[in-house]
């Protein structure tokens, strides 16, 4: 038997297995994306996978530019994806996120949180000093309408609920805050410079506005407005900045991994924190829409709400709400 006729016989033998391939493909389509508890199905799929791998290896050598190869490669890829699809348990995934992943991310991000907070505080002080020393500089940070309102001796937040309903106000505020938070995180892609810009700008604005309202005797009123929602909102700003800084640092100092791998790891890990920040900002937005502009709430009540929500945030981020300590003590026992 010549070499060419041997090869041809092998090709024909291979192609005559097409019925098996089609049965395997049909089984994969039937089971794709579904849960099955049928052991026979699972065994058949594993057998199909081995059979397809065997035939793919052969078809790559015997029929490299054929439709049979294209079909087999596609079926093999689908089989691989189906077999290696991880189990999807949303409840467990969420518990895992809040109990284990988030505290781990927080421990990893601790230095970033420290430096982002330091930068934010520094820019608040800088903004305060600038406007306190040169009052005209407020025009850099606040709109003419806001300046005019404060110069009339009123806070722009007074009578806010007469103009905009609480629900709308909450929606507008939380959307804006979430966008700023996400932007602070994503801007870390610019080697951290974008994050520094977002943090710095927000810190300068906050300091400048406090200095400006202080000059008109309204700083107590502003504090009264801010305290209920601001504790968490400002903390989330620092956390988002920390996440962005981690992304930036991963690009600047990738360590032993490649820059792309380091960037990916930092983005995915700090992304978990950002997800929780988004939920925290929804709560802040609701407080800012319903409680902060409502004069019926006393300063004491506002302080209680602000501090309680901040403690809740702290407990959430450290996994205390979901039994981290219990798991740890159980593990050590």
């Amino acid at each position: 038997m010549s070499e060419s006729s041997r090869e041809n016989a092998l090709r024909l033998t291979l192609l005559r297995r097409s019925d098996l391939w089609e049965k395997a493909a049909a089984r994969i389509r039937r089971l794709a994306g579904k849960r099955t508890e049928d052991a026979a199905d699972a065994t058949a799929m594993a057998d199909d996978y081995r059979m397809l791998a065997h035939d793919v290896a052969k078809v790559r050598r015997l029929l490299p530019d054929s439709r049979a190869r294209e079909y087999l490669e596609a079926t093999y890829a689908q089989s691989h994806a189906s077999l290696h699809r991880p189990a999807w348990h949303p409840g467990y995934a969420l518990l895992n996120l809040f109990r284990d992943d988030l505290p781990a991310v927080m421990r990893w991000l601790r230095p970033h949180v420290f430096w982002a907070t330091a930068l934010f505080i520094l820019t608040i002080v800088a903004g305060y000093w600038m406007v306190h020393t040169y009052p005209d500089l407020i025009a850099l940070f606040a709109s003419p309408e806001l300046i005019a309102t404060v110069e009339r001796g009123q806070l722009w937040t007074e009578g806010l609920l007469n103009v905009v309903p609480s629900s709308v106000l909450s929606l507008q505020i939380l959307t804006n805050n979430i966008v700023v938070s996400l932007f602070a995180y994503c801007a870390g892609f610019l080697f951290g410079l974008g994050t520094v810009y977002v943090l710095g700008l927000n810190g300068l604005m906050l300091g400048a506005v406090f200095a400006f309202t202080g000059q008109h005797g309204l700083d107590d009123d502003l504090f009264r407005f801010v305290v209920a929602h601001g504790c968490v909102e400002i903390s989330v700003m620092c956390l988002s900045g920390a996440a962005g800084a981690a992304v930036g640092e991963a690009l600047i100092r990738p360590g032993t991994a490649t820059r792309a791998e380091s960037f990916q790891r930092a983005a995915l890990e700090s992304g978990k924190l950002i997800l929780v920040c988004v939920f925290l900002l929804v709560g802040s937005g609701l407080i800012e829409g319903y409680i902060s502009p409502n004069p019926a709430f006393s300063l004491r009540a506002r302080l209680a709400i602000g501090v309680s929500y901040w403690l809740f945030m702290l407990a959430l981020l450290n996994g205390w709400l979901f039994g981290l300590r219990r798991v740890r003590s159980g593990a050590s026992a």
Binding site: L15, S18, A68, H80, A81, H84, P86, C186, Q264, L268
Partner: protein, 231 residues
């Protein structure tokens, strides 16, 4: 096919899985379909809701908008437009109508279904990819990177591959044919109605020696008998 490269994924069988990576063209095509769908849906919701809210042929916002205006007229179209991609991708584990139409799917760098975290991360980074306008940065990045990925994909460790769900097999039972001829024959018969007479004869002549003199029906009958192994 707009293909830049193949992603080779290691497998326990020792035979790697190859996934054809989609290039900027296919990605843009899928994006345009999705963009059209979400724009039309958002606009349609706004128009219908605004007309119902105003109770007249006016789409303008009221001078003093109430909570209902925002909750029923403004928020849903905004949600449809901005949450379209994350919602579809998370619920279908990497597919949107546009990607399905273009024959694409998001996979992780190991070839499997991406995690929810990866899908959310790649969508958050749209903020960066959309800079400065019309996803210019994302498009340029897909042109420059090895696997044609945008920054969001780099962050999430995902990429877009062709699903190849339309791959079909040449059916042959002909015992007298070699494998390559059988493939040509099967393809010719599948595409018979789409080919013109000249093309049919040209391809048939590579299989049948008397293709030039046979009529159209005779030619097809001869080819079909060949696939059945009766000729």
């Amino acid at each position: 096919m707009d293909r830049t490269s193949d992603l080779a994924v290691d497998s326990v069988t020792g035979v790697d899985v190859t996934l054809p990576v989609a290039g900027p063209g296919a990605r843009s095509f899928a994006f345009l379909i999705d963009w059209t769908i979400r724009t039309v849906l958002s606009a349609a919701w706004y128009v219908v809701a605004a007309l119902l809210y105003n109770g007249s042929w006016s789409l303008e916002a009221p001078l003093a908008p109430t909570a209902n205006w925002f909750v029923f007229v403004v928020a849903p179209p905004a949600a449809i437009y901005f949450l379209y991609h994350p919602a579809w991708e998370v619920t279908t584990r990497g597919l949107t109508p546009g990607k399905r139409t273009a024959g694409l799917q998001i996979v992780s760098s190991t070839g499997g279904a991406p995690s929810v975290g990866s899908l959310l991360t790649r969508n958050v980074f749209r903020l960066v990819d959309s800079f400065p306008v019309a996803y210019a940065l994302g498009l340029v990045t897909t042109m420059l990177t090895r696997n044609s990925v945008r920054i969001g994909d780099l962050a999430a460790g995902t990429l877009l591959v062709y699903t190849r769900n339309d791959a079909t097999l040449a059916h042959l039972s002909g015992r007298q044919l070699d494998a390559r001829t059988a493939e040509v024959l099967s393809e010719l018969l599948q595409r018979w109605s789409a080919l013109d007479d000249t093309a049919r004869r040209k391809i048939a002549a590579t299989i049948l020696p008397d293709a030039a003199t046979a009529t159209d029906e005779e030619l097809r009958a001869q080819l079909e008998s060949l696939t059945r192994g009766t000729r």
